[in-house]
């Protein structure tokens, strides 16, 4: 598949002027400032601070990929979308795009309250880059999707906010670009409509092979729609890869120093809510950074809405490439007697975990006593990293630090032999303190 978006070392720098209280400069300030400086010969007192909204961001997307961009407020998500949509220019770096690009950073951009629904469909469509014939061809479909037939000739200022949003999204959903860039627009509208929008976006990208970049704080939506995800933090790409793993990292609270992760409710139908996950070492200290061969204990606090007899549990460790290992009740047969209504605590320790340096996440799930009924979906509850320097445990390969976690994690004891060479033996026991 061909690459349709290539982003190379993208950086966007803003200069924050601390003196100015206004969002814009008045000519007066410029003139008086330069006059003052000329007279007093003093340097300007304006303190300028550089702020990197995006810092050396690089990635590539292939045709038909659907990528979710997540991160905290201020992580640079919107700036990234604005640069990709050509609204603002990067400071350095480069973006190459193939095909028509349409961006939906806000619903109803350019809608005029005095104009009717019909008029606004044409206006908004053309602002988003649709041709007149294209809008005309899709007109009925748009009206249908928005469910506003009766109010087509009413000025949109008389619309309810729900109708307004529906109409606005409907226009955008019928764009036919090769690349679709969507910001948090689904946050508006009711649950039913959000579902409809997600479905529409799914159809659009899956059936027509369109590339979608989607920003949202709704991890459910990201998981449902995206094939991969990018986690941004302070303008940099923190992680990039499999959607569930990345959303898991986000859920886990991300980058806290401590090993405590607040998880919380994921859907409306969960009977058991995973409230909190705490990672501890063998001394009982909560942390999220371990050494190779260290025991990692995962303590999970569950809030059960009803009683469950003998549930099945599993806890897995994943990295960017997928599952690494797991403790699974379906395999080992361990089953708690009963989840009481309210708080339950489950603890599982991965003893002397032979994990290579890198980022990992922990996912978990619960099934009812029949082993089939899913009580809560498998999802990411915590992340941690292993930060051992490999040469210290006898792994001296030149690429050890870059490749180890992806290729040999976990690692079990093994031995190399070759005629004439000295044997190489890797044994955890030699290195674990």
């Amino acid at each position: 598949m061909s690459v349709v978006i290539r982003v190379e070392n993208l950086t966007k720098k803003y200069i924050l002027r601390h003196e100015a209280g206004h969002s814009y400069v008045a000519l007066r300030d410029v003139i008086s400032g330069s006059v003052k400086r000329a007279i007093k010969k003093e340097k300007t007192r304006v303190t300028k601070e550089e702020f990197y909204a995006l810092n050396d961001v690089s990635f590539e997307l292939k045709k038909g990929e659907r990528v979710g961009v997540i991160g905290r407020n201020g992580a640079g998500k919107s700036t990234l979308l604005k640069v990709l949509s050509r609204i603002t220019e990067p400071t350095t770096g480069r973006v190459s795009l193939k095909g028509r690009v349409a961006s939906l950073l806000e619903v109803g951009t350019g809608f005029h309250p005095e104009l009717t629904g019909r008029e606004n469909i044409f206006l908004n469509g053309s602002i988003l880059g649709m041709r007149k014939q294209e809008i005309r061809r899709k007109f009925d479909e748009i009206v249908d999707f928005a469910e506003v037939e009766k109010f087509l000739d009413t000025p949109v200022k008389r619309y309810s906010s729900g109708m307004y949003v529906r109409l606005a999204f409907a226009v955008a959903a019928h764009l036919e670009p090769e690349i679709l860039i969507v910001d948090e627009v689904l946050a508006v509208g009711d649950a039913e409509f959000q579902k409809k929008c997600l479905g529409k976006m799914n159809d659009v990208s899956k059936s027509d092979g369109r590339t979608v970049i989607f920003v949202s704080h709704n991890m459910g939506a990201i998981n449902a729609l995206c094939s991969s995800a990018i986690l941004l933090d302070k303008g940099r790409i923190k992680a990039n890869g499999n959607t569930e793993m990345i959303t898991g990292m986000y859920f886990g609270g991300g980058f806290a120093e401590e090993g405590e992760f607040i998880v919380g409710k994921a859907g409306n139908h969960e009977k058991v809510i995973i409230e909190k996950a705490i990672l501890r070492n063998d001394k009982g200290t909560a942390l999220n950074n371990f050494q190779f061969g260290e025991s990692i204990s995962v303590e999970v606090e569950l809030n059960s809405l009803e009683e469950f007899e003998k549930p099945y549990l599993w806890l897995g460790i994943k990295n960017g490439r997928g599952p690494v290992t797991a403790a699974t009740a379906m395999v080992d047969g361990f089953r708690p007697d009963k989840f009481v209504k309210g708080k339950n605590i489950v603890k599982c320790t991965f003893l002397n975990a032979p994990l290579m340096p890198g980022q990992y996440s922990i996912n978990m799930g619960i099934r009812a006593s029949d082993g089939l009924t899913l009580i809560t979906e498998s999802k990411d509850v915590a992340i941690f990293s292993i930060s051992t320097v490999l040469s210290e445990v006898g792994l001296n390969g030149g690429l050890a630090d870059t490749l180890a976690s992806d290729t040999v994690s976990p690692v079990i004891p093994y031995e190399w032999e070759f005629e004439g060479n000295k044997k190489y033996k890797f044994d955890i026991k030699n290195y674990v303190k």
């Binding site: 061909s2 690459v3 290539r6 803003y14 814009y24 400069v25 008045a26 000519l27 007066r28 410029v30 604005k82 640069v83 990709l84 949509s85 050509r86 609204i87 603002t88 220019e89 990067p90 400071t91 350095t92 770096g93 480069r94 973006v95 190459s96 795009l97 193939k98 095909g99 028509r100 690009v101 961006s103 950073l105 806000e106 951009t109 350019g110 005029h112 005095e114 104009l115 008029e119 044409f122 206006l123 053309s126 602002i127 988003l128 880059g129 649709m130 041709r131 007149k132």
Partner: protein, 276 residues
Amino acid sequence: MSEDEFDIIIDPNRRRSNFRKDLWNYRGLFYFLSWRDILVRYKQTVLGVLWSIIRPLMTIFVFTIIFGRLAKLPSDGVPYLLLVSAGMIPWQFFANSFTEASNSLIANATMLSKVYFPRIIIPVSSVVVSFIDLLISFAIMIGIYIWYQFVPDWHLIFLPLFILQAIFVSMGLGFLVSALNVRYRDFRYIVPFIVQFGLYISPVGFKTSVVTGDLKYLYALNPMVGVIDGFRWSLLGGNFSLDKSTFAISLIMSVIIFIIGFNYFRKVERNFADII
């Protein structure tokens, strides 16, 4: 993959602009933005589009009385009302389009920060809206022709050229000031001042020939001098001779203003979304 296979390259160091292609792709937007402004313009007004006639007509009457009756300035045998209308029509067009274009970017700030399209469409479409008003205001001219039973001659066929010059002037200044306005909101206050002041220093209420000697060359630096002279020459027939040297100066000024405005706009447009 070689970079030629990509359609759009965003690179701050090497501007590979698709400016012309984009303008063509977004041609529908010119139409819809102008159409929106025209539709919205007179919503919830009783007189509606009549306002496009009433406003210039009132000013024409006032100017005729002040300059023709009270100041008794010369008109070379043409009814003073005709003289003033032929000057007021292009002036009103300039004043409207310049004012609208100057505020256009700020008025559409959300669009600028949320959607990509060639930015220049916004000030251009506000000039288009004023152009529609210009066409409507020719109804005034026709009415006055009938009132005075005046028949224009072959000079009239050159009118589109002077309209074009007026468009150049208003677009050029509109580009410049709208872009400046994004950064320095002072221009919100400067624009009405320029328009008000310009009405008196342009030959709207009097003939350009009132200004004599070497002063007329200085006077011709005002591009609207050429535009108004051109309008009078083509609308009022042989009664007015076009001073070739002053007209040339005005014409050159119009072109210079357009080039400066356009280039400044193109240079700063990439920062609009960041500072608006």
